[in-house]
Amino acid sequence: MKKVSFMDMPDVPKGQLPEHLELQRTRVFCGSDAPTHSEGIQYSGAYASMGIDNSLRLDSFCKKFRVEVIQLTEDEIEFDMIGIDASLANAFRRILIAEVPTMAIEKVLMVNNTSVIADEVLAHRLGLIPLDVDPRSFEYFSGNDSPNERNTIVFKLDVSCKKGARITVKSDQLKWLPNGSELEMTTPNPSAKPKSYTLFTCSQASLPEFSDKPIGPKHQDIIISKLGPGQAIELEVHAIKGIGKTHAKWSPVATAWYRMLPEVVLLKEIEGKQAEELVQKCPVNVFQEIEDIGKGKKKAVVANPRACTLCRECIRGEGWEELVAVRRVKDHFIFRIESTGALPPEDLFTEAVKILEDKCDRLISELS
């Protein structure tokens, strides 16, 4: 690496870091034994001795920032975020996993369970079933409230197996009860009117969000339990709103993660047999051989760096590390969000950003 002093090169434009430092600032070097320069240099005065301002002004951020959507389906989204720092990308990822609210089954009222599955295990399985309902139309249920149509969803499961073959209880047998709970609480006073477990003032089916799309589990074929002849399950469940931090059943994403954009650079010309070897080595076909028309020899070029999974086969072995440099770009993130179905993935990301804004807002109002 040539060490140039900023003073010695009068043709280097002011306000620009020397090449190798700029590379260190913006790229993670993935060596064969360990990645280096992985931490970001955030401090505004990091390069103050060279007279370069490392601070990120808001306007320059807004100019450079880009989002490109690569793929969007009903349950998944893959998009690129360019120009943002890892702290923010990580904050979005963390909020997506843990702090975006969803509805999930919390209370299970057992009437009858003669199946082989224990009550608690059955309740645990019911809690993990993803529900196809937008949590934004509901409120949180705190301890003091009574369950009403604004904060609870009630389902019923009533299956029994007649004599004969075994049956499998799947999630489509969870029936939605828009009018609230049908069970009655046992009261000490026999003459009083029986109280239901929920106080629904109006049927949920009458609400505009649910009138044409009934609430139910997202996937109809999740196996809840199996029943043998003569066994039955009868229970009622209440679903409430919560966040993934309390329990993983309230996490709206199967998972959400990002990776940095891979950058594979050939430091020297690779031709002939070596080129063939290099192309063979990579399991995801990052390299390609191209016939060099001028010289007549085969040359290896980097065709698809985005597919690189960092298996490091190309730099394994003697001498290969001087020929191939595998790097990661520090401010280009390839985000993938896989939703469980409650909210479409693009809405999930928007919600996550909104939650971060709310946090800042709350903090600002506390400070003033």
Partner: protein
């Protein structure tokens, strides 16, 4: 996990903030407004790391970092030392910057999604190779 170096010396002012209005001054002198440690309840690395990043970008900040005193408790201490301005104001500015950044991110993202949806489906292969 520790991140940044929070040194609880006698002179910094300690502000305790949480979702309830709860502002408590703990130690020492009120004269030195340039350095403070802010203790926040019900927060973790999500907000603290982002705030630390935005604070670092501000040239008025001489030093900033955060730490979580104990992993069992949901508390974060953010320390800010500035080159002259009161630390509270610098923190507020950084939070405003963070909010604007988030709004910009949201706007850009929504536009990109709308663009993608509006695009005719034939073009999807070309972009998949990006």
């Amino acid at each position: 996990m520790r991140k940044g170096f929070i040194v609880q010396l006698c002179f910094p002012i300690l502000f305790v903030l949480s979702s309830e209005l709860y502002l408590k001054m703990e130690h020492g002198s009120i004269t030195d407004q340039r350095s403070s440690t802010f203790s926040l309840l019900d927060e973790d690395h999500t907000l603290a790391n982002s705030v630390r990043f935005t604070l670092n970008q501000d040239p008025r900040v001489e030093f900033c970092g955060y730490s979580i005193p104990h992993p069992s408790e949901n508390r974060v201490n953010i320390r800010v030392q500035t080159t002259g301005d009161p630390a509270k104001d610098v923190l507020k500015d950084a939070l405003q910057n963070l909010m604007v950044t988030c709004q910009h991110v949201r706007g850009t993202f929504d536009k990109a999604v709308a663009d993608y949806k509006a695009r005719p489906p034939m073009e999807m292969d070309a972009d998949g190779q990006n």
